[in-house]
């Protein structure tokens, strides 16, 4: 006579406790939510030259009229990919470099009109009328790619001088710690 072994039955459910996972997911979500920058960025994606002696950006006052002028290599579109720029070379073709303000490319011939319009929005008020000068209170931040031709930056500085903008800042990146 053979004895039959009774197979034990499992009565309790094996459930996965999701609460710790939900907690961690919430923390991750919170981190990425706070870290994400959803604002309309004036600063274009470009590689700034590094400089050790720069002043780090303090918190920008919202009432401080500022315009960021980016000089970046125009890739894609009709021009296609520039092999020189793609290989970290110095592309010197003038057509390959674009001036971008608030995400929009400004043609060189319209640059003066654009900056004049920006300058006229906020004029300096505390100027002696006898001086007969017209100065803008607007600040221009020039963010040029490290490989951008100096001539383009020079042109922007020149146009700023012509339209009465005298507050100019040039952007640079903080070098990585050694």
């Amino acid at each position: 006579m053979s004895k039959r072994r009774k197979v034990p039955t499992i009565k309790e459910d094996v459930t996965c406790n999701l609460i710790p996972m939900v907690d961690i997911m919430f923390l991750l979500l919170l981190f990425f939510l706070l870290g994400a920058d959803m604002s309309q960025r004036e600063a274009a994606e470009l590689v700034l030259p590094t400089a050790s002696e720069i002043k780090e950006n303090e918190k920008v006052k919202t009432d401080d009229p500022t315009t960021t002028v980016n000089i970046q290599h125009a890739q894609g579109g009709d021009l296609g990919k520039c092999p020189l720029n793609a290989n970290n070379g110095y592309c010197r073709l003038p057509d390959h470099w674009a001036v971008v303000i608030r995400g929009r490319e400004v043609p060189r011939e319209l640059l003066k009109d654009q900056l004049k319009a920006e300058a006229d929005e906020t004029l300096e008020t505390d100027i002696d009328p006898d001086a007969k000068v017209r100065l803008s209170a607007r600040k221009i931040i020039i963010r040029a790619d490290k490989a951008a031709p100096y001539g383009d930056v020079n042109k922007i500085i020149e146009v700023c001088g012509l339209v009465g903008i005298y507050k100019i800042e040039v952007g640079a990146a903080v070098p990585p710690p050694k």
């Binding site: 939900v22 920058d37 600063a43 000068v133 790619d145 001539g151």
Partner: protein
């Protein structure tokens, strides 16, 4: 038990199905993870333009003293910037910084510490090279830096 619910059913008769919640949070997490980007730490050089003059001429040279002018040219063949102070070509940053300091100190000795360093760069020179010279000037505590502009075309010229 359908799906995964929180807590013990015995204690809490209304079980909340958290599976859709986890799904949504997971999707949001993936979205923010992909769009997340670490910001590069940025700074700036203040470079206020003179209020009372446009593109002024170069500094008047007094006596035998030369103005502090760093000339920069673009070597198309070697794909690099050539820097020159007075008649000397300088490749090394530290050497250029020392030469700029020496030239500027000559003006300081003449009680003219406001004498600027003029950066006279060719249009094709990369911006990075100009920033490097500006950085060297700032390292030497020279705040007044001028950019040389090309002379405007003569009146009536086409």
């Amino acid at each position: 038990m359908a799906g995964a619910s929180m807590g013990d059913e015995g204690e809490n008769p209304i079980a909340i199905n958290v599976t859709p919640l986890v799904d949504i949070i997971f999707c949001l997490c993936v979205f923010f993870m992909i769009s997340f980007k670490f910001k590069q730490l940025e700074g700036k050089f203040d470079s206020w333009l003179p209020k009372n003059k446009g593109s002024a001429g170069s500094v008047q040279v007094e006596g035998i003293l030369d103005e502090v002018r760093v000339a920069m040219f673009w070597d198309e063949v070697a794909q690099k910037t050539v820097r020159q102070l007075r008649t000397r070509r300088v490749d090394d940053d530290d050497e250029l910084a020392a030469l700029i300091k020496e030239a500027h100190d000559d003006w300081v000795k003449m009680n003219k510490p406001e004498t600027p360093v003029t950066i006279d760069a060719e249009a094709r020179v990369p911006w990075e090279a100009v920033i490097r010279v500006m950085n060297l000037c700032k390292r030497n505590k020279i705040d007044k830096i001028e950019f040389a502009l090309g002379a405007p075309p003569p009146v009536g010229a086409k």
